[in-house]
Symmetry: D2
Subunit: 358 residues, 4 copies
């Protein structure tokens, strides 16, 4: 790959925007050519506008870049060779800005939820449903775009979707109970007030249960050349916010299509791999890490497995409520890496490899 793909980062100052910057530093395929922000920050230097929240300092490559308006004309005037964009935009702005960029020929990798469930928009976790990217040609045809929109998932669904993929392929998935224990960073910054999370749990995250239930079925669905037919299992979720910084835990109870031993489930999860994806720069060596200790995964100790891109599973054991067909386990996913910025970057790497990002 002689020259890097020049990309714009839309919504560069928030927590997810910062994670994108972290991941794109010295990325072998991509190079940040433009940063955008809201009106309030437009025209400022990045280092001056951002409240840097993650480890380390603002990387020097972006510190002096001037924040542009989130508008394709402005971005392409400043950086005409931009071919892709990563979007960390808030939902209501993404609704308008992402199609505008797509129309202008830019392929948008979006972390917003607005277009995830649109029929012609690929919602992709590469190890789970790389084939759904072919929906892009239909999207382009339908909408008359030369660019496009490819979405990554809600941060909470990553762990369930990644673990259900091999189980569905191997045993068939019928029903899934999920109870999440989600980290504060999932709500962005400022997000959840300290007064709500010190010595407390919030048993509710707006719209989260609905997203989890819908996105899981689309992700595990089958692309028939025209559309994605959602997978037929049922999934039900209780979502909770707990006093943890990063890392969403999901306790899962799964009913499979036939009798199964927990050891076999553990083995299938451990062996899961996706050869097409495995050597992409942001892909972890093991998409799923299965731990044997009785008390793992734990958010603080395991969230950085695979550079924050592996799903960590533990406590694989029988689920008696589903008789011999049941299994239960815990999953952990780094919500702002695999569940947000890292997922988007991996999607872009996939589309580049498939020749869909030119």
């Amino acid at each position: 790959m002689a020259t890097k793909v020049r990309v714009a980062l839309l919504g560069a100052t928030g927590v997810v925007g910062q994670r994108f910057i972290q991941l794109l530093q010295q990325h072998p395929y991509f190079e940040i050519a433009a940063l955008t922000a809201s009106d309030r920050s437009e025209g400022k230097r990045y280092a001056e506008a951002v409240r840097w929240l993650i480890e380390g300092d603002v990387p020097p490559e972006v510190a002096d870049m001037t924040l542009l308006a989130t508008d394709p004309a402005t971005v392409l005037a400043a950086a005409p060779d931009v071919r892709a964009a990563f979007s960390a935009l808030p939902n209501e702005i993404a609704a308008v800005a992402e199609p505008a960029f797509a129309q202008a020929g830019v392929l948008v990798f979006s972390n917003a939820s607005y277009y995830r469930m649109a029929e012609d928009v690929p919602l992709v976790i590469p190890e789970v449903n790389a084939g759904h990217v072919d929906l892009l040609s239909r999207q382009r045809a339908l909408r008359g775009w030369t660019g496009g929109i490819v979405c990554n998932t809600n941060c909470t669904v990553s762990g369930p979707a990644m673990t259900l993929r091999p189980l569905h392929d191997q045993f068939g998935v019928r029903r899934v109970f999920c109870v999440s224990l989600q980290a504060a960073s999932g709500a962005g910054y400022p997000g959840v007030p300290s007064l709500d999370l010190i010595d407390n749990v919030i048993p509710y995250i707006k719209n989260e249960e609905e997203k989890l239930e819908a996105e899981a079925r689309k992700l595990l669905g089958r692309f028939d050349g025209q559309q994605v037919v959602p997978a037929e299992f049922a999934l039900s979720a209780h979502c909770n916010r707990v006093p943890v910084l990063d890392g969403h835990m999901v306790a899962m109870s799964v009913e499979l299509g036939g009798p199964v031993a927990p050891e076999d489930v553990a083995q299938v999860l451990r062996n899961f791999s996706c050869p097409e994806v495995a050597d992409l720069p942001t892909a972890p060596r093991s998409p799923i890490v299965v731990r044997d200790e009785p008390d793992r995964p734990q958010p603080r100790r395991d969230r950085m497995a695979g550079g924050g891109m592996s799903v960590v599973v533990g406590r694989v054991r029988p689920e008696p409520l589903f008789g011999s067909h049941g299994v239960k386990f815990m999953t952990l996913t780094h919500n702002t890496l695999r569940g947000a910025a890292g997922g988007s970057v991996l999607n872009a790497e996939l589309l580049l490899r498939r020749g869909l990002l030119r």
Copy 2:
């Protein structure tokens, strides 16, 4: 009630022992006559031996009492009129000491788990299964005791058992999924190290899932005059420790015996009462408080409902995985009040009323 029942408190220095002292201060029926502790503290003044962990200071009534050995001869020599004991003993000590007290004519209200599942030991939450106390006469006959042992439950099962009682009576309960988010105080003191709970969740509590599953069925079981026949529903649990001081949350998904609307479930829970128990000093006005806000119950804000003796329920909504028969909701119980010391004291009040504590 002319004079108060004189009681011993076994294991008085731990967290649960402290809660007992708090609850027995100026109790209308009971009066602390003796405090026991381990060898290490025996012979010391209570105020000197205890590391007081709960709100306020060591109550003056007990501050100067001398700690005795946990042994019926010693206790009865020091306080011959002791008729009942509250036990906050660790399990392995309870195993030996509780029968010794029972043999010596003392009725032991135990918070330990050792005898909970014994066939002739009543495991009681008064609002749930007051009738099980009749097992005591069988226990006395079998073991030749004039005293006895009455157990309260594991701290986590209280919320599920209290909410399942009226649902089982009204609709029949078939299957129950539980995922707990448990407070640090459930592990006693010193209990869980800070290094394990700052910015973290521990997805495992030793033996807790097994206890929850077994005790729920015994609690909801039917006493046939000879024994308790466990309820026939199935219950499965994932237990987690979260960075919260007090208050165990349990996310529950329940399959009922027939079609049911969530509003009806909420109404049944709200209306639940147990007239025999309702006016006991430690009983809350509402055994179950149902909240309508989307984001309640929360441990810090709701754990003291009903003086820490009410179970707080919220987010009552359909559970699609069980079709029209399903409902899901969140429960919260104060684990060291309703789930430990308060449960024991309420049991003692019940036995006194029924004339079983003389």
Copy 3:
């Protein structure tokens, strides 16, 4: 006192507003006649507009009250007999609204910082400087008001000011080092984001050090009949935010006017009392509680001493840097009770007793 004084509560929906409501429930002297809020909430029922953040539920007495605009004409039209107001207004609104109420004949007990350092405004902690209330007549004369403004202090200065009062009277205070460890509730709601306080400390609170330094000298100052002459000691502060809900700790190192033994300092603090104030309804029995344990005070365990109105002191020991003149200790004050709403209510009780609130 035949009938209660009818009061308005300005800024009723925030955290401090909620504490006022809690303290004024069944208050023997005061009765809430009107609640005000910002435009956004005006016209709504209180229970509907408030996000109730403290223990328990919205008290029924105020739940159905309609929120009024923060404007004296509106308030007095709705409740013509209002003679006093408690102000939990944000600073910039207090700047305009408080004088308007004072002008309209209402005596405002303000928790805002805007007028604290104004020369003719009494800044009062009853046990520390009750005599400063006489500044009110000068304020009324100068400004032509029939009402007035009486301020309570910054939440952090209460502990230092309360402990320095008896030390200054007895030994003379020369220099004071203060390092605070402040609770999240001091920043209001939403206040400090979880992402800033989980596993973290913020070593900065805007303008706090300046307030602490200036207010302490005014509080300990001498009212000469015309004005308050600030006390002449020097005080320097480092202010920090720590992951605690309520309760500001301040580590203090004090240089006194002469040689002093720590035991004598402890005794002077312990004996401190203010007879004029001691029997007011909101006054604690002991303004200062001195603890002897090596590891107290602690915010969670001691903040409710004296109903949240006592300052708790511990670790009184020599301060070698000031030679024989030095002492160091830790203070703890409940920042939203003694340091905010409780301080204001106690001020109102004092003025009522002195006949300055008619």
Copy 4:
């Protein structure tokens, strides 16, 4: 350096032992040849005996090593070429074991406090007092040892000592006030119970204030060829435990020998370097990092500066209590890296460079 120095790690299973293992993985100069532990773990595989508490997993190089008794004969029988040892032993064991190893010809780099204040034991932070290592020859002569003991400091003193070094050299230091906000990991594992740190601060750490005061003066003292003459300034500390995982903050107020501007202090701190040490493998590029933001340093965001080996300083401003001679600021040090294992490893690198470790 052709071959690596073979080292033993004494007390390998605790938190500090784990940090040593982390730092010695692929270290260019040192190689772990033996691991020791208490009787309980002796004979077990390391991976089996350890409860691994830090990021990542047990490194494969040590996972299968067998834990030896902490005894020089055993260690040297198993690994005769061991020339140095890192000691993460508890104090009472260090008291006996460290001299035994020193006697047996091993140079012990100790993290225990037992010998720190011994007159013939170098207490060293390389950037602060590298020259004190010459005390070793006196120690060997006095005690007849061919090995020896070199101590690193208490974890809390590192920040103060590192920042006072250049200030003392440039301006002279007279008096220092320190108030620490210390992380939970400083107490080891299990260490501080969750029930003591959730929503709480503990204003006391046993013996910590005394250590801080004594060690600072020894570190800044002058080695006169025979002994270390303690520096003459006075230092006084209040030590507190706060709910933070890693990273000790110390608020400092310093009286210097003459008038000084805060900008000059900041400049002197920023420019501080120790050329002899600067290129050692574990030395950070900047021993002191000075930040300009108003709200830094913060433990979670800054503790890994310089790989956890830099001291981070912020909020440099005047200290009015010391008139024109005063300055105040905040320091942050990673307590288990710079303040423990990292400090020891850096000491060993220094001694190797100076030819004192053969």
